[in-house]
């Protein structure tokens, strides 16, 4: 290849992916490692990368302990019930007890946080959410990370982690390529903090053609955090817990501020309230423990997000769609109308574009809602990700192996979407997790755990060849046919993505099958994914931009495989409304009140599945 190889050696902490988790990691690493070399490798431009590129209108995780609003244990209870019992309470508690300090820092850095004029406290959107003018959220946290890092490498698509050859199962850095110059980049590092984000576009998106990019989670959320960690042999957890979101139709505008602050509500096509009528039947499926509308009403205990989806999906299936968000009342108040619009302008501009294009003014017309295709991520109302160690003072021994947020691969840490079992971390919690991981990574190095790392030239060369193979493949075979995109020797990344989305949709429970799957379908899914993996060896990229898409596809494919393995293993429908196992519809607490954990053997590609105990550290009750 004509590209240069650029080696950055002697790195102590390599941050892969600088979204909310990665920027938090880089920032904090400098405090605990003032003498350490901290380097960031980011696929896009750190100033506007990741899920928060457009901004956000709320910080969804803030305790307000200083005002006596909530304590960390309250948040654990909330996230636990929302995830139908299955979370890592040690990680959740740990994130929650630190998250306020992160938010207070944001305010000092200039992030405009709205205030309640009566109390002087941050203006609450809901019990856990506070409202911000967050258009510049990402540039602000990026500035903090840039102030701490020795070097920021933008436009590097990281493809693989490097592994230490002197000690099995230890990380030693990462490799990737620059999507502008094409150069091969090698980062030799004592530790790696993976913050490469969650996965959109694994399942067939609701929109087609041009609109395929209007997904809820950013189209550049390429499952890289999962692809990188799974390939390195890290154990993963809760990968079956993909999330489906109720959103404004087509634009995917979030509904949080609408429900919580504007106090809007939903109704079916006949103008009726529909949610509650699905609950008695659903209660038989999930048990009173997880759905008790009366108790919820009395104690303000939330109804799990997935169960509310179930009601929406069922009502539409029953032929009483469309589901509407009743905005016409709230929007008569000019202040609330402004909040409603600015909410999108600062976070999901596409929704405003859509309403302008279709002449939908929510003041005069109630807009439609829908459910999205499934996404895989670890920080929203969902918790897929790596199986990580918790902090020493909170975690039971099964959950603790020395360094906070370290995966089961030594020296490899996670933050944000990368970490499994910590739902409802959102932006502030992801940044906080990055901080926690950075401190632990410094300790790991100071304890001498990263001594004697060996990375051979052979490993570097092997990965280099692998990275550029799609370009090479294209060069060799492009002249076998006259012209066009149809070639018997290869598929291109878009064709591969279409195949992945179709098979995940149809076999693993996407929206066209009503999120329904079963053992037989999942086994077919795995078979097709295996064959697809063979075809991915014949992926062709005609330029470096397509090479980026090729590696995004490979990471998505790997994550999809893991999702399918987990969904097959958990023989129950733990989260109806996210997905259904048609052959095991009921929640089965006797056998499945456990966390599922997988490991893919990097040599053989085989998966080992296990059940891990789900410890409840925080007692019930308020």
């Amino acid at each position: 290849m004509a590209y240069d190889t650029i080696i950055e050696d002697g790195i102590d902490i390599l941050v892969v992916g600088a979204g909310l988790g990665g920027t938090g990691a880089a920032w904090e690493a400098r405090f605990w490692g003032q003498d350490k070399k901290i380097v960031i490798a980011e696929k896009a431009n750190i100033d506007r990368s990741g899920a928060v590129a457009q901004g956000l209108y709320a910080i969804n995780c803030y305790m307000g302990t200083r005002w006596g609003e909530n304590n960390p244990e309250d948040h654990v209870r909330y996230a636990r019930i929302d995830l139908m019992g299955l979370v890592r309470e040690d990680l959740l508690f740990d994130m929650a007890r630190h998250v306020d300090s992160t938010v207070h820092q944001f305010e000092e850095w200039g992030l405009p946080i709205m205030k309640n004029p009566e109390t002087g406290h941050y203006l609450r959107e809901g019990r856990w959410q506070i409202m911000i003018h967050g258009e510049s959220y990402k540039p602000i946290v990026a500035e903090a990370a840039k102030k701490s890092a020795d070097k920021v490498f933008n436009r590097i698509c990281v493809t693989h982690l490097l592994m230490d050859e002197s000690k099995p199962n230890r990380a030693a850095g990462a490799v990737g390529f620059n999507v502008r110059t094409g150069n091969y980049h090698v980062f030799k590092s004592k530790t790696v903090i993976c913050g490469a984000g969650g996965a959109s576009n694994i399942f067939k998106p609701r929109s087609t053609g041009e609109g395929a990019g209007r997904t809820w989670y950013a189209p550049w959320s390429s499952a890289s955090a999962y692809g990188l960690m799974i390939d390195a042999g890290a154990k993963m957890t809760q990968m079956e817990n993909r999330i489906v979101l109720a959103r404004f139709k087509d634009g995917y505008g979030p509904v949080g501020a609408y429900f919580l602050h504007l106090k809007t509500y939903t109704q079916n096509g006949l103008g009726e309230e529909y949610e509650s009528k699905w609950f008695p039947e659903l209660q038989k499926m999930v048990g009173k423990e997880y759905l008790d509308p009366e108790a919820s009403h009395l104690t303000h205990r939330p109804i799990p997000t997935c169960l509310r989806n179930h009601a929406l999906i069922s009502e539409v299936k029953a032929g009483r769609g469309p589901i509407h968000m009743v905005t016409m009342q709230a929007f008569q108040d000019p202040h609330l109308e402004e909040v409603g619009w600015e909410n999108f302008l600062g976070m999901t501009v596409g929704q405003a574009v859509l309403w302008a294009a279709t002449d939908v003014d929510p003041k005069n017309e109630n807009p439609e809602l829908t459910t999205s295709e499934p996404y895989v991520m670890g920080s929203h109302a969902t918790c897929s990700g790596a199986w990580c160690s918790g902090p020493e003072d909170v975690s039971p021994s099964d959950y603790f192996w020395g360094y906070n947020r370290m995966t089961t691969v030594e020296g490899l840490f996670g933050a944000g979407d990368a970490v499994g079992g910590t739902p409802h971390a959102f932006s502030s919690g992801s940044f906080t997790e990055g901080r926690l991981a950075a401190k632990a990574a410094c300790k790991y190095i100071d304890d001498g755990k990263a001594e004697g790392i060996v990375v051979s030239a052979a490993q570097i060369e092997r990965r280099g060849k692998e990275i550029y193979k799609p370009l090479e493949h294209y060069r060799i075979y492009r002249n076998a046919v006259v012209a066009g995109s149809v070639n018997p020797h290869f598929i291109n990344p878009q064709q591969g993505l279409d195949r992945l989305q179709k098979l995940m949709d149809e076999y693993c429970g996407g929206y066209t099958v009503g999120y329904m799957t079963n053992e037989k379908l999942l086994n077919i899914c795995l078979k097709k994914l295996r064959i697809m993996e063979e075809d991915l060896e014949n992926l062709a990229a005609q330029d470096i931009h397509e090479l980026l898409r090729a590696w995004e596809l490979k990471h998505r494919h790997r994550a999809a495989e893991c999702v399918t393995q987990h969904t097959l293993y958990r023989k129950e429908t733990r989260w109806p409304g996210y997905y259904y196992r048609g052959d095991a519809m009921k929640v089965d607490d006797a056998n499945w009140h456990v966390l599922t954990v997988s490991r893919r053997d990097p040599e053989t590609g085989g998966y080992t599945m296990e059940k891990a105990p789900c410890y409840h550290l925080v007692s019930d009750g308020e």
Binding site: F31, A44, D359, L436
Partner: protein, 159 residues
Amino acid sequence: MPTFVYMTRCDGCGHCVDICPSDIMHIDPTYRRAYNIEPNMCWECYSCVKACPQNAIDVRGYADFAPLGHSVRVDRDERKGTIAWRIKFRDGTEKNFLSPITTKPWGTAIPKLADVPAPSKEMRDGQLLYNEPKYIRLDDGGLRTLEDAGLKLKKGVYY
């Protein structure tokens, strides 16, 4: 589209190429002006639109569900610390919004942690992060523990 570039306004400066998180704003080699090479991978995030000094980039809603005849324009002013939006509906209705984007001048409010006093050994061995516990409550009070909450580790709860 969804983003597109007006031929007569673009001068090929490359700011949009530099910022697009999806790597889809590219400079056309013939015209030396920018364009969106992969509309189906565009999120309409407006990062490029906000970055363009010539106001050359605009957005046309996705063809598979958005009719023509609308516009959503933006002006982000770092100096003033504001962002202004103008929404034009298909039927001509117009709405304008203005929000703050920061409360501090850019580049001034964030400290360099390399310059703050190094943490002590106790801090390293404890659970606190930078500026904690001060930053948790911004006054006194420590880091929350399970004991504070009157909780004990409930070991062995395995169903």
